[in-house]
Structure formats: C-alpha cells, structure tokens
Symmetry: C2
Subunit: 147 residues, 2 copies
DNA sequence: TCCTTATTGATAATAATTATCATTATCAGT
DNA sequence: ACTGATAATGATAATTATTATCAATAAGGA
C-alpha cells in the first residue's frame, strides 16, 4: 500500500517540528494524526474528544499547546463558518478557497485560480482601500448528502 | 441637520422590535445605539465596555440578550476575521461582501454585484457539491491608515 | 395613571481557554 | 544502547466568555 496523502502531510509536519528544534512527542503525534485524517474541520474540543478513543491520550492542555504550535509554524489554519469558527484544517500551499458541506461538514479545498482581480480593482477605486487579501468560501451540500 | 443613516437604521430597528411585540427598553436602545454608530464590527464584550462610558448602562447579560434578539430578527450579522470572530455589524439588505481594514478595523460593505457564477459552476462540476451560498470578504488597509 | 408581564440586574453556573509547576520523556551526545 | 539536559507533559488552578436563574423593575396598552 502506497503512502497516503495524509501520511505525507504527517511526516512533513514531523520534519518541520524537528527542523525547528521541537520534539515529536506522543501527544503531538496523536493530535496531528487526528487533524490529518479528518474529513471535516475539527474544533480543539472535538480533537480532544476524538483522542479519548485511544488507550493513551493527551491532556486537554497539550491539545491546545499543539494547536498553538502548529499554527505558529503555519501548518494549520482556522476555518470559519456561520455556525462556528474554531475549525482546524491543514494549511494548503498557495492561495485557495474552501468548500464546506452544511450537512456533514465535509471540507474540500479548491486550489484558487479564480479571477477576481478586476473585482478587487473596482473595490479599491470605490473605497480608497488597498486590498491585500481575501477570503472566498463556499457553502453547500456534498454529493454524499445530496442522495 | 438631516437624520443620518445611523438614525434611520435605529428607528427602523425600533419599529421592528415593536412590530414583533418586543419592548424598546433603555438597555436595548443603548446597545443598538453603540452598534449602529460604530465604524468597526464590535464584539459583545466591546459593546459592553463601550456602554460603561454612559452614566447608566445595561448589565452584561442584557447586552448578550439584546444581541441574541437582534440576531433572531435578522438585524445583525457576525463578521469573521483571522484575528477574531465575534464582530457584530448591522445586516445589509441583499447579497454583499465586506471589506475590513487590518489596521483600524474600519468596515465597509460592498453591495455584491460580482460575477462568480462561472467559477461556482466549475466548482460544482469538479466536486459534486451543490453550492448554495458563499462568503467573500476582503482585507486590506483603509485610506486613512494608508497615509 | 394603573396593571400586566416582558425585561432587567445581580449573580450563579457552565464552558472554553490559558497559566502554573512538579514530573516525565525526547533526543543529542557519547 | 546509555545518559543527561531540558523541552514537554499532565493535573489542576485561574481566567475569560457565555448562559441560566429569579426576584425586582419598568414598558406600554387600557
Ligand atoms: Zn469566524
Ligand atoms: Zn455532506
Ligand atoms: Zn484603517
Ligand atoms: Zn458574493
């Protein structure tokens, strides 16, 4: 069985930890494993509760500490939704947009290649703002939930 | 002096409260006044602390209760940002996007007339999702902060 | 003005996050 | 593989944000 995308992210994250002088500990591995194997953006509490399913699990403080570290290293990002805003998801290289199923929470990352530069230029002219970033996210129903 | 846009929103909100059988009380008026006169999206706590500047002010519980009511009536919405997600802002009629200054927090609402329907169709084909809504928000620097 | 009752304020309870510190375990150096 | 320095953990206390409770108050119709 070839290594999955998840395994690739996991080992890349461990390399990043090591190369920054951070230790790869069991609690950190557990949290990273949960994040990378999820199909939905999980909250810190959800990550903690998932970890309880194992026979050994990290303390809640270590979950938060790991998330803080992964965030500082730019490995994760927060996903915002109308119903809740602490969803954790691996950072994807380059500009992108996310697509979330309202029903089951399943997430997809859309590699961003849309052209809204014209729209942005118009907004800058209208408002006098200089725009340097944007969030574009889509909400809907995934194919599984459509059936 | 002609009535400002803020006064117009305020009296419209009071009408909405009355027409739904809710009383227009002093605490509610204070919270509504703070929200409608702000140039930035305020958190519940910020709204409460601003209210303390007056000689009489609502209890923190009434601030939350008022926000809950305004939200239920669709009069306010939450503004999400990388740094924090409980910003309260008056709802604007129709589809729109928001533009936030990273430096001072000043907000502008852009009446949404962008054309991303082609992009959405492409995403639906790629992913099998049905997309029914989206968030598009811009971050940058306002003209005041550019000087 | 009076009366009904929706709403408030004070505060307790709950929930989420952060701080503290003695103990544990990673991993570089042998 | 063993050892030691110390980064990191777990348990728990502290802090912060939000919600629930309930007797007292005040909005607004009669
Ligand atoms: Zn958010
Ligand atoms: Zn779904
Ligand atoms: Zn500004
Ligand atoms: Zn739009």
């Amino acid at each position: 069985m070839e290594p999955s995308a998840k395994d690739h992210i996991l080992s890349s994250w461990q390399d990043t930890l090591h190369s920054h002088g951070f230790r790869v500990t069991r609690p950190r591995q557990q949290v990273m494993e949960i994040i990378t194997s999820s199909t939905t953006a999980l909250t810190p509490q959800e990550i903690y509760h998932k970890s309880l399913e194992g026979e050994r699990f990290p303390g809640i403080a270590s979950v938060y500490r790991t998330l803080e570290l992964l965030d500082k290293l730019g490995l994760i990002q927060q996903i915002h939704q109308p119903g809740g805003c602490h969803g954790i998801w691996p950072t994807v290289e380059g500009h992108n947009h996310c697509l979330i199923c309202r029903n089951c929470g399943q997430m997809k990352i859309i590699e961003g290649n849309e052209d809204i530069t014209g729209y942005i230029a118009r907004i800058e002219n209208q408002t006098g703002y200089r725009v340097d970033d944007h969030w574009l996210q889509f909400f809907g129903t995934c194919s599984g939930c459509l059936d």
